[in-house]
């Protein structure tokens, strides 16, 4: 089995579809979807189909074979009829949008999720009870019908609310989904036509200009200076040249294939980059299409908070159902009628279910989501708000996420010295020594030997944001010099270009000859840049401190050291040299001829080296450090080359300064890699090729043993394997990425985070969260918010659960001891959905108790949202105290009206008998049924007020779990006080405002009864302070273990 799995995972892109069969099944399975592939025959067929299609060998065929294969003609193109046939066969050339769950299904899911089922059962029991009553007595009271309807209303309202919240957060994203319709230039019936890209079919001959998107997977037939940006597919920042030559077995690497949705870059060279190619795959069958369907095939993982809430719902529902059934049996065996027992059951269910809680959780999450949106973290899926908080591993893509996705000058070497250039986003802080006259020469070469230009009309745009015509490295040089020297165009104007030789891959250099801006100097200046070793070959002197020195062995050696050092940093190095052409040989009127090369190209003067890299975003290193201190492992997963990956990893701190890889140790000790003790290395760099040959255990071992890991040259499905590997370690995995190639991993991750500006639509769609400003540091904010919300949800739930006991006890006492019912079902609903709502939301505004960023992420399986101490403490400690306090108010009301506590015991049958209208109280007074009922409602109100007053104390104690309230500050969270005020106001309105509406079962309560439970409330507060004090005093003690939730 295991063997098989690794096989499946080791295939490259051609095996994409193998993983598609993942998890529609049982989500409890850890190795989801990896197992059941052989079971599902249907899927397997599909799989075979895909494999057949992905036998991509078109790059190996020559033009004739291609024509034959696709039945087309390179010159004439397809005929329209043939194209129409193919279109009918293959369907349009567009990606099938991922299947959306129908809105009605989403809505219905909300109706039956969580506690809803329990409430539905309650409602139906109510109606059944009424049905039984009605069949025996036509005048049966409609109370049960009302109660049933109210329960259904509660379910529907909370369902609608949750649905609305979900829809709201989904809507934010739909704006990202808009795709601009694309046009393609195609040759059909020997004519060039522009048609919508959707109508392209296999065999079409298309022409793509620079700046356009490649409309389908195409096999390049001819290309002129075309480069494509594959960064979203492979993670390479550098544009890849494309030509018709077959250069590599792997279709992803070969030069003669362009992929759907990548961009053909504009080149500054004329003629502008154009490419002609044959469409070989369309729509979902393109590489991008496969990745997209790979992503949509990966089922969304249940978010940790969803799992926690489910766990919590199970606990509460379990308690409700078991107590309900237990007391149903007790009631029946106590000779209660089955119908009555049924009504008790409803009461117990309603009392036990915190009806308002799930709504509260939703509100709490959306409040946090809003807060995060303000910090440019857009949360698509509300539940994902918490996920970042429990994240223990972040798998980050490199290009565009950790880096700026833009080549930038990082280092310079001149005067035998390496200088560091500022690579931050705005280049503002260039501190290297610019006084040397070597720099003056170097800067001149950089400025002049450059064909890149700013696009016009961008005067007010900051330099770094200006759009440039030219390739990536020239752009970098242009911006670099613009920042350092000012107006580059002006400098170029002053040093008029006489002639130039553009860069090409055979020369490996670029050369231009200029007039100088010194009117007295009539010499021409020849400047040259290119691959350092080629440049050095052409030089005989080297400039040091502005003076030319002969290039001897030792200087050549320092050059090589510097070159190797910069290259080792994963940077692309360029060499620069110049030569002043002697005025006597080359007078002003000299006519240069680039074909005849009638000027010297050797014995030049070497000036310096300059290296470029796609630099890390400036906020990243700090964010990585913060993640580290928060116990989060940051892993880099990139499609880029290992050297570059390692360099970036080192510079952002993913590999810390003092840790070494096995290779580093081997290099340092000068021993073969095999002899190095694996345990000595803290960091590991694993390439896709190595990953391919690894079994899942080996991967697990690497993930478990190394603290600092970089995965390089990985394919999209390898990213998926890595994410799954992390998840097998019971980690909650966050994946950040921007490219199409990240989208499957983004989806598979517990939380996928896409970049808002740089990110591709596919990535944004697959992600749960979008960083609008592409700022990796926002993740840290997200972690903080997520941890806070988890803590606060704990508090909210503890607060909400507490009063359930106070609501439940009355029913139990009522059944066992036969007291008049202390609190009615409707009244309970008024607490759960009325007075308690705002306070429990207010707890979401509570500040963190201690520095939550210095503790480890919670363990998915051990640190539950609702754990045993929380339930026990809420139910059996505070809940019980509350129940006692509320009973005190209840007994007080009855006693002061004439029914002393002892007279109430076993009074239930007479009390509720409609024909007894002269029930005698302790003092000999006689009560009619209605008078008793009214007193019962007063009792409800009293019990309600008792709970309400103690819930205020409960709310205050729940502000902290460990610290004293006075440490936390009683008034720091103002919203808590809004909550308390709302509680009291709603209570007052119910009792005094609506006291006359009999259906609500509230009466006007004497003012003093509001204070009866106050001593109990104070007791709750004091007790909890004592609990917290002992927890702080004796950490790890028996008390701590049993009382800290």
């Amino acid at each position: 089995m295991r063997q098989k799995r690794s096989e499946i995972y080791s295939v490259e892109l051609s095996g994409t579809k193998d993983i598609v069969r993942t998890d529609q099944g049982d989500d409890k399975e850890k190795y989801r979807g990896l197992k059941n592939n052989c079971l599902e025959r249907k899927k397997k067929n599909q799989e075979e189909d895909f494999q057949k299609e992905l036998q991509l060998d078109d790059h190996k065929l020559n033009n004739r074979e291609l024509e034959k294969k696709y039945g087309t003609n390179i010159i004439m193109g397809l005929s329209s009829t043939r194209a129409a046939e193919l279109l009918a066969r293959d369907g349009p050339n567009s990606l099938t949008p991922p299947k959306q769950t129908p809105e009605i299904v989403k809505f219905l899911k909300q109706m039956v999720g969580g506690f809803s089922i329990l409430l539905w059962v309650g409602a139906f029991l109510c109606w059944i009870a009424y049905g039984i009553q009605y069949s025996s007595d036509k005048s049966a009271s409609l109370n049960n019908v009302y109660l049933g309807s109210v329960l259904v209303l509660v379910v529907i309202l909370t369902g609608v609310f949750a649905y609305y919240q979900e829809a709201k957060s989904t809507n934010i994203m739909s704006s990202f989904n808009k795709m601009i319709p694309q046009q393609a230039l195609v040759i059909r019936d020997s004519e060039k036509k522009t048609i919508p890209a959707e109508q392209l079919v296999v065999g079409d001959i298309v022409e793509v200009k620079g700046g356009d998107q490649i409309p389908a997977d195409i096999r390049v037939l001819s290309s002129q200076g075309c480069r494509v940006d594959n960064s979203s597919l492979t993670g390479e920042s550098e544009p890849q040249p494309r030509s018709s030559e077959f250069t590599h077995e792997n279709p992803l690497e070969t030069k003669n294939i362009c992929f759907y949705s990548t961009t053909c870059l504009e080149a500054s060279t004329s003629p502008i980059g154009t490419v002609t190619g044959m469409v070989i795959n369309t729509g979902d069958r393109t590489i991008i299409g496969h990745i997209a369907s790979l992503a949509s095939g990966v089922g969304n993982e249940k978010t940790p908070i969803a799992i926690e809430i489910e766990h919590f719902v199970h606990i509460v529902a379990g308690v409700a159902v078991s107590i309900g059934i237990l007391f149903f049996i007790i009631a029946v065996s106590m000779k209660y009628r089955v119908l009555d027992s049924l009504i008790f059951l409803i009461g117990i269910i309603v009392a036990n279910v915190p009806e308002g809680l799930l709504g509260t959780v939703t509100v709490t999450l959306s409040l946090t989501a809003k807060r995060m949106a303000k910090k440019n973290c857009l949360v698509k899926n509300l539940e994902a708000v918490e996920t970042l908080g429990s994240t223990s591993i972040i798998c980050s893509d490199k290009t565009g996420t950790l880096t700026q996705n833009r080549m930038t000058v990082a280092h310079l070497w001149f005067d035998n010295q390496i200088f560091v250039a500022d690579t931050s986003e705005d280049h503002s802080n260039q501190v290297f020594d610019q006084s040397s006259s070597t720099w003056a020469s170097l800067s001149k070469i950089i400025t002049l030997c450059n064909r890149a230009e700013f696009k016009p009309g961008q005067e007010n745009v900051p330099i770094m944001k200006k759009a440039v015509i030219g390739d990536a490295s020239e752009t970098a040089l242009l911006k670099f010099s613009e920042v350092l020297l000012g107006d580059v165009m002006e400098i170029r104007k002053r040093n008029r270009k006489v002639v130039e030789i553009p860069f090409n891959s055979t020369n490996k250099f670029q050369l231009s000859i200029h007039e100088t801006d010194d009117p007295h100097d009539k010499r021409f200046l020849m400047v040259m840049k290119g691959a350092p070793e080629r440049i050095l070959e052409k030089c005989s002197t080297i400039m040091i401190n502005g003076e030319e020195h002969p290039l001897d062995k030792s200087t050549a050696k320092t050059f090589h050291t510097a070159y190797m050092e910069l290259g080792g940093l994963g940077e692309r190095v360029l060499g620069f040299c110049h030569l002043y052409l002697p005025a006597d040989e080359f007078p002003e009127t000299y006519s240069f001829d680039i074909d005849a090369m009638n000027f010297p190209t050797s014995n030049l003067c070497f000036v310096g080296l300059l290296s470029m890299i796609d630099p890390p975003r400036s906020t990243v290193p700090d964010a990585v450090t913060k993640c580290r201190s928060a116990g989060i492992k940051v892993i880099m997963v990139t499609g880029d080359h290992p050297i570059t990956a390692k360099a970036i990893a080192k510079s952002v701190g993913i590999i810390s300064a003092n840790s070494e890889t096995v290779e580093d140790i081997a290099h340092r000790l000068n021993i073969p890699v095999e002899q190095v003790n694996q345990r000595d290395a803290k960091a590991a760099i694993v390439t896709g090729m190595e990953l391919k040959d690894m079994s899942l255990e080996q991967l697990d071992e690497i993930l478990a043993n190394y603290q600092e890991i970089v995965f390089a040259r990985t394919s999209p499905q390898q990213k998926l394997i890595i994410v799954e590997g992390c998840q097998r370690q019971d980690a909650v995995v966050a994946v950040t990425g921007d490219g199409v190639n990240d989208s499957p991993a983004l989806k598979k991750a517990d939380i996928g985070i896409a970049m808002g500006i740089a990110g591709s639509d596919a990535a944004k769609n697959a992600a749960d969260m979008v960083l609008l400003d592409d700022n990796f540091a926002s993740i840290v904010t997200g972690v903080e918010e997520g941890r806070l919300i988890f803590d606060n949800l704990k508090k909210t739930i503890a607060y909400t659960l507490t009063k359930n006991i106070a609501e439940l006890c009355p029913f139990l006492i009522y059944i066992i001891a036969g007291l008049p019912l202390p609190i009615g079902t409707i009244t309970i609903l008024f607490i759960d959905l009325g007075t308690d709502i705002i306070p429990s939301i207010a707890l979401a505004y509570e500040k963190a108790e201690s520095d939550i960023m210095n503790r480890k992420p919670r363990h998915k399986k051990k640190d539950r949202l609702v754990n045993k101490p929380l339930a026990v403490y809420s139910y059996l400690h505070i809940g019980l105290m509350q129940a006692l306090g509320a009973f005190l108010v209840y007994f007080t009301v009855y006693a002061q009206e004439g029914f002393l506590p002892h007279t109430l015991i076993n009074l239930r049958v007479e009390w509720e008998n409609d024909n007894v209208n002269d029930l005698e109280d302790h003092y000999g007074q006689e009560w009619t049924r209605y008078q008793r009922e009214y007193l019962e409602w007063t009792g409800y109100t009293a019990f309600f007020v008792g709970i309400l007053v103690q819930q205020i104390a409960d709310l205050i104690i729940r502000k902290t779990r460990r610290n004293s309230i006075f440490q936390q500050g009683l008034f720091r969270n103002k919203v808590i006080w809004v909550g308390i005020a709302s509680q009291i106001i709603i209570g007052l309105i119910l009792s005094y405002g609506l006291g006359s509406v009999t259906a609500l079962n509230f009466t006007m309560l004497r003012a003093q009864y509001w204070f009866v439970a106050v001593p109990h409330a104070i007791l709750i507060w004091v007790y909890d302070e004592v609990r917290k004090l002992f927890i702080r005093l004796y950490p790890g003690s028996w008390w701590d273990k049993n009382m800290y939730y």
Partner: protein, 279 residues
């Protein structure tokens, strides 16, 4: 790998067994004996404390009460009416004139109810002046006599069957006791037939009068032997046909502070009952 396979029933059972008793750690239901001891001790102390506290607060609350008069009487401002004999099901009396067993229960109930009103029981009670409230200052409160003779035909003295055997059943109507209630005006119980036919209705004492001397009531503890005034309603069913069904409604009349019209409380100052007599 086994981890992710669905647990078989056996494994499940084994896990449960291990949970109930784990021989290696000596854990029973997830806790060791010592741990159980500690937790039980804790809850014993904690709940003991709570129980003591609750008892104390209840005791304090009971101290606020007066043993003779309830603290508040606002919830029963006006008395309800109730009838005797106490019907088994919703106020309906069904009997057969010719079958004594059918009404034996009613008669027994009436006799039992009238027991305190017999002469022997009343001999220690005071004869109070008629027609005025009998207010007392204490400390000893006396109860007024209610001579059974006032009920005439329904007193049970002349007719031990209370008229049931003659098709003239007696129903006693009583006003609920309320401490301190002082009726104004001239209260009387007025009974009418709902479905007017050949039956007629007589109330005793004459006109259903309730004498004010029985008010106010001072409570069970102070007002020992208090007898509440009664009104008897005798319905004379026409001796003719086989089955009779009459509905009688009685309500308090003549006293402005005793309510008899309340939408929700059907027994506040009124009572309605049905008599069904078979031949």
């Amino acid at each position: 790998m086994t981890k992710n396979e669905k647990k078989s029933l056996n494994q499940c059972l084994a896990e449960w067994k291990l949970f109930i008793y784990n021989p290696t750690t000596g854990e029973f239901l997830g806790r060791t004996a010592k741990s159980w001891g500690l937790i039980l001790l804790f809850y014993l102390v904690f709940y003991g404390f709570l129980a003591a506290l609750f008892s104390f607060t209840m005791w304090v609350m009971l101290q606020t009460l007066n043993d003779e008069v309830p603290k508040y009487r606002d919830q029963i401002p006006s008395p309800g009416l109730m009838v005797f004999p106490k019907p088994v099901t919703a106020l309906e009396y069904t009997f057969s004139v010719s079958d004594p067993t059918s009404y034996a229960g009613y008669i027994a109930d009436l006799k039992k109810f009238l027991k305190p009103y017999t002469l022997e029981e009343q001999k220690n009670l005071t004869t109070c002046p008629d027609g005025a409230l009998f207010e007392q200052k204490g400390p000893v409160y006396v109860a007024c006599q209610f001579p059974l003779l006032l009920l005439q035909a329904c007193s049970g003295m002349s007719d031990p069957d209370f008229g049931y055997s003659k098709g003239k059943p007696c129903i006693l109507v009583k006003m609920n006791r309320i401490i301190g209630l002082k009726p104004e005006g001239v209260p009387r119980i007025d009974c009418v037939l709902k479905n007017e036919d050949q039956t007629n209705i007589t109330t005793y004492p004459h006109n259903g009068m309730i004498d004010l001397k029985y008010f106010p009531y001072y409570g069970k503890k102070l007002h020992v032997g208090y007898l509440q005034p009664l009104v008897a309603v005798q319905v004379t069913l026409a001796p003719s046909s086989a089955e009779k069904e009459v509905t009688v409604e009685c309500k308090i009349d003549g006293s402005p502070n005793l309510k008899s019209q309340d939408d929700r409380d059907k027994f506040l100052g009124r009572v309605m009952f049905k008599i069904t007599a078979h031949a």
